[in-house]
């Protein structure tokens, strides 16, 4: 047993987190910032933060993750990080030549109380920011929220810094895709295009964190939302925010700053959430849903009706980020699966009630917590076993100990490939998810079947 010390008996904990189901804000901010074209994320803190975030993102995407750091030492921690940041800005623009430096703070610089806009103004005044180049920032204290919060904050910063209130509304909408894979952002763009909707998608890490092997390393690959597009976001017809936790703050900011109406939707994972997304796009753009999209929908539904017997009544445990879990749980329930243990590490009051609502029809006791950890999740499973678990790579330890199949989903996935390339959003993404779920369940069925019940046809 790898997790041999995890007891079945659950003891309440108030202070100790064991095997977290979240990580800290800055990494989310770094990920979001990589979704701006020609942007170098910058970690204002000790250099270890930057190293850790780059490492984790690199392991997840298996792609270069470029970011700089203020490399705090003890002195900076005592006297503040202003000179470090100004020096960093100078060096970065000189050596790495981005168009944007996206600064996020860390628990260290937040505790010190560094005022990034002030430092940035000083750098500007000192001529360290070349003309036409930008320094933006987000406050991302590690002791508040989670990586998703950090993503949300940096995404909001994009709106805050760049969106301009234009004279007239453009025939375009903004789509904030949320903390999803590059492949998902790409798929969201594709779907919008397929619908005939012009969209500003931000952030957009596609072609940044799923770029090709060409024998050439580009510090700034072709992906990412352009500054120009971000500017125009203030003149869009409306904003569709996908996921409350990751995307709503930016959408609200655009509304406040530029009076762009916003709609909050769930991440388009699964049938009904994608239906809602498509339906909003349709109404916003005043178009009919094209056959191609209906075809995709019908194919997803076809897998559901064809394979329903394998979904029905299967108990699942889910660990992940709140926006993903809401949509995923809804999808699973919609195909008669029973998600019964649901844990996110990201705190948030709405999450639990939303999950309760979604799982109301599940004929089984449902455990859900926001701000929980994988240790508790594991204990829940020991007390009430499940047929399948879904979540990030850390679940593999539970999967092995408890002999439960695992479908990798969410962040981080450190031991398989595919997530960067194949979306799980949209109808096609739903098909992929179902394929993964079926493969996991049927592989298990095949493994455990007594010989007389080993089936050729499933």
């Amino acid at each position: 047993m790898l997790l041999r010390h995890t007891p079945e008996a659950i003891r309440e904990r108030r202070a100790l987190t064991i095997n977290p189901a979240k990580t800290c804000q800055p990494i989310g901010a770094m990920y979001a910032a990589l979704g701006i074209h020609r942007c170098l994320p910058h970690s204002h803190g000790s250099q270890g933060c930057c190293a850790y975030h780059r490492s984790t993102l690199t392991r997840h995407f298996k792609e270069p993750v470029m970011a700089a750091t203020s490399s705090f030492t003890e002195g900076a921690s005592v006297f503040g990080g202003q000179s470090n940041l100004i020096q960093a800005i100078d060096n970065i623009f000189t050596v790495y030549e981005p168009d944007v430096i996206a600064v996020h703070t860390t628990c260290l610089s937040e505790t010190i109380g560094d005022d990034i806009p002030q430092i940035s103004r000083k750098a500007q005044a000192e001529g360290k920011i070349p003309p036409g180049k930008f320094v933006i920032h987000a406050n991302t204290p590690s002791y508040v929220g989670s990586h998703v919060t950090g993503f949300a904050n940096m995404t909001k910063a994009m709106a805050d810094y760049f969106a301009e209130r234009g004279g007239k509304r453009l025939e375009q909408i903004n789509i904030i895709p949320g903390y999803v894979e590059p492949s998902d952002m790409e798929e969201i763009r594709r779907i919008a295009a397929e619908m005939g909707v012009r969209a500003v998608v931000f952030p957009d890490t596609s072609n940044v964190l799923n770029r090709p092997q060409t024998g050439k390393f580009e510090m700034y690959p072709r992906g990412g939302v352009s500054i120009e597009a971000l500017r125009s976001a203030g003149s869009s017809k409306c904003t569709v925010a996908l996921g409350r936790t990751a995307s709503w703050p930016a959408a609200r900011a655009l509304d406040v700053k530029c009076n762009v109406h916003c709609e909050l939707l769930d991440l388009p994972i699964g049938l009904t959430a994608t239906d809602a997304f498509i339906d909003v796009l349709r109404r916003v753009a005043g178009v009919s849903v094209p056959d191609s999209i209906n075809l995709e929908r019908g194919r997803l539904l076809d897998i559901v009706t064809d394979m329903h017997q394998y979904f029905y009544g299967k108990k699942l445990g889910l660990v992940g980020d709140p926006d993903q879990l809401v949509s995923l749980a809804e999808f699973l329930v919609s195909i008669d699966m029973w998600p019964i243990h649901i844990v996110t590490g990201t705190p948030g009051r709405k999450f639990e009630s939303r999950i309760r609502e979604i799982t109301r029809g599940v004929p089984h006791e449902v455990n859900v917590t926001a701000g929980g950890d994988m240790f508790l999740f594991h204990q829940w499973i020991k007390n009430d076993p499940v047929d399948l678990i879904m979540g990030n790579t850390y679940l593999k330890y539970i999967a092995r100990d408890e002999d439960i199949p695992l479908v990798r989903f969410g962040f981080p996935i450190l031991d398989r490939v595919g997530h960067g390339y194949f979306p799980t959003v949209g109808y096609r993404g739903g098909m992929r998810l179902l394929e993964k779920i079926l493969d996991a369940l049927l592989d298990r069925k095949d493994r455990d079947a007594p010989e007389e019940a080993f089936e050729l046809v499933l």
Binding site: A15, T73, E74, E110
Partner: protein
């Protein structure tokens, strides 16, 4: 002539002027930065007296320069304490640090029984929140320790401070002391806030101090064995320690403790009962070796099990230390036995790798040690450097007296250690030591990396992303070695990249079997056909047959 060629075939390495390369590497930097980097980028030249040029090392990374380095917490919790399976390692701080250092280093561990404690798959954190930062986190820390004790009943709990902890004034050492008394188990803390020092290195030092102060010497139980040694600075990445253990055992040498691959708390506690300390990663652990000698009288020698030749040499050193014919014979026998397979594969692989270039920028000793393995298959290290080493790791310990203590180093406590009144027991007399030295065995010494590198090679400390790219473009090495952050940027340039921190989930590479693994791995990487597909046919052959045949 420009030494840096973007996108063209590299000239033979010999035709490249390393001084010109250095100039071009720093040309792009602002003046002050260029000046500083100029001290850290050195064209190697080994004098007749084995002297080497001075290199700038263990100095601050310049903000904004993309670095490989991590922080003090990473060095303390991640590197040194992390691999000990029966410690509950509790990170005190916001969740991130604990999360990132959770299972990511591939330190393998193998409990003797399924019941034996192993907390390595667990991440423990106080997950500090806003209000804790405002009102202080000591209360939460105390509660967390109690909860950990109630659930796990570990032998010991260690606490690691993250950046904000010092700033908000949490006195983790007092908390540790209190809890130690209350629970009756060992509880100790490390003030390894990320901003301490200039790299992981500060964290190693803090870890060394803490483990020495709080654990080493607590248990006088002595393991059976004629030749009892400790292995210091070996972290069992990919099973390296298992292979070393295998070889030592075969030779009849008893391993008392490893710091800290595949280790336990008890091993540390009784490590002072060994008769020799052998130091693998000089950078991360030499403090412990030094302190144990001073306090307990255990001499230390530098060893290196990376590379079959180095492994053999290290075994012979150990045998020589014990001055025992039986051991020497046994060691020679084992070496001969192990080298059969090694030499077979070496020859096979060498035929395909001879003359190819390698670059190594990693760690605090790996960039040195792995050159031996490359050399064994005929590959040349054209450039190398450390991520977090000090001058002594480059130039040898003889420069120690010359190293200036700056503000960043000063902030790390330097323990005052005196001989233990009861336990100090010099393993060798001064005469014996002198005799052994005359016989070629050097004690308390490390000659550094540079003296082993060829003239004209470039030694680069704390290499930056920018320099990495330029170096690759200039030399087009057959392989580049560094860490995960560098991996894919290198590979996107069409150059296979071997991680020497995590081994890319390969290994072991230590010892004899490890050498064979490494030869094969490098063979796979530098000779694979996959690197030939980078250009599509239409990129190689872009002309269009306007009058296509089927017209």
């Amino acid at each position: 002539m420009s030494a840096i060629h973007e996108g063209k075939a590299a000239p033979a390495a010999e035709a490249i002027d390393p001084a010109a390369v250095k100039q071009e590497l720093i040309a792009k930097y602002p003046t002050k930065v260029a000046r500083k980097r100029g001290k850290q980028i050195i064209v190697n030249r080994v004098g007749e007296d084995c002297s080497v040029p001075e290199i700038g090392a263990n100095t601050r990374t310049i903000p904004g320069i993309i670095t490989q380095r991590g922080c003090s917490y990473a060095g303390c919790k991640g590197v040194v304490l992390g691999p000990t399976r029966d410690l509950v390692n509790l990170t005190h701080g916001p969740i991130g640090c604990g999360f990132y250092s959770w299972l990511t280093r591939r330190n393998q561990t193998r409990p003797a029984t399924p019941e034996e404690a192993n907390f390595m798959p667990y991440c423990f954190s106080t997950d500090l929140q806003d209000e804790d930062i405002v009102f202080g986190g000591e209360k939460k820390l105390r509660a967390a320790i109690l909860e950990a004790y109630d659930i796990f009943h570990p032998k010991a709990i260690s606490i690691f401070a993250t950046c904000p902890v010092g700033l908000i004034g949490d006195d983790i050492h007092t908390v540790a002391k209190e809890m130690k008394e209350r629970l009756g188990i060992n509880v100790f803390a490390f003030s390894c806030e990320g901003y301490k020092g200039v790299s992981q290195s500060a964290g190693h030092h803090i870890a060394n101090n803490g483990i020495f102060k709080h654990v080493v010497g607590l248990d006088d139980t002595s393991r059976e064995g004629k030749y009892r040694i400790n292995l210091l600075g070996e972290y069992n990445i990919g099973g390296d320690a298992f292979e070393i253990e295998r070889v030592l055992e075969k030779c009849g040498i008893t391993l008392v403790a490893t710091f800290s691959g595949n280790s336990t708390y008890e091993q540390f506690a009784s490590s002072h009962m060994a008769d020799l300390n052998t130091v693998m990663c000089h950078r991360s652990i030499n403090y412990v070796a030094e302190m144990m000698e001073r306090k307990f009288g255990i001499p230390w020698i530098k060893t290196n099990f990376i590379g079959a030749g180095s492994a053999a040499k290290s075994l012979r050193k150990i045998a020589k230390y014990f001055e025992d014919r039986e051991l020497s014979d046994r060691v020679e026998e084992i070496i001969a036995e192990e080298m059969v397979e090694v030499e077979k594969v070496q020859a096979e692989v060498r035929a395909r790798c001879e003359g190819k270039l390698a670059m190594l920028f990693v760690g605090g000793s790996r960039a040195h040690h792995y050159q031996d393995l490359f050399a064994e298959i005929g590959m040349r290290t054209i450039s190398a450097g450390y991520e977090f080493a000090h001058r002594d790791d480059y130039e040898g310990r003889r420069v120690l007296p010359d190293i200036k203590v700056d503000a960043d180093s000063r902030s790390i406590e330097e323990l005052e250690v005196h001989p233990d009144p009861d336990r100090y027991r010099p393993r060798k007399t001064a005469e014996q030591i002198a005799e052994l030295k005359r016989d070629g065995l050097s004690f308390n010494d490390y000659e550094g990396m540079m003296v082993r590198m060829a003239d004209g090679t470039l030694v680069i400390d704390d290499i930056s992303q920018y320099e990495t790219e330029r170096m690759i473009e200039t030399y087009k090495p057959a392989i580049f070695c560094a860490g995960i952050k560098e991996k894919y940027a290198v590979q996107k340039k069409g150059i296979p990249m071997k991680q020497l921190h995590s081994y890319d989930s390969g290994g072991p590479y230590a010892g004899f079997k490890g050498a064979v693994n490494f030869y094969r791995e490098i063979d796979r990487m530098v000779n694979s056909r996959i690197w030939s597909y980078l250009k599509a046919p239409w990129q190689t052959n872009p002309e269009l047959a306007a009058t296509y045949a089927c017209e």
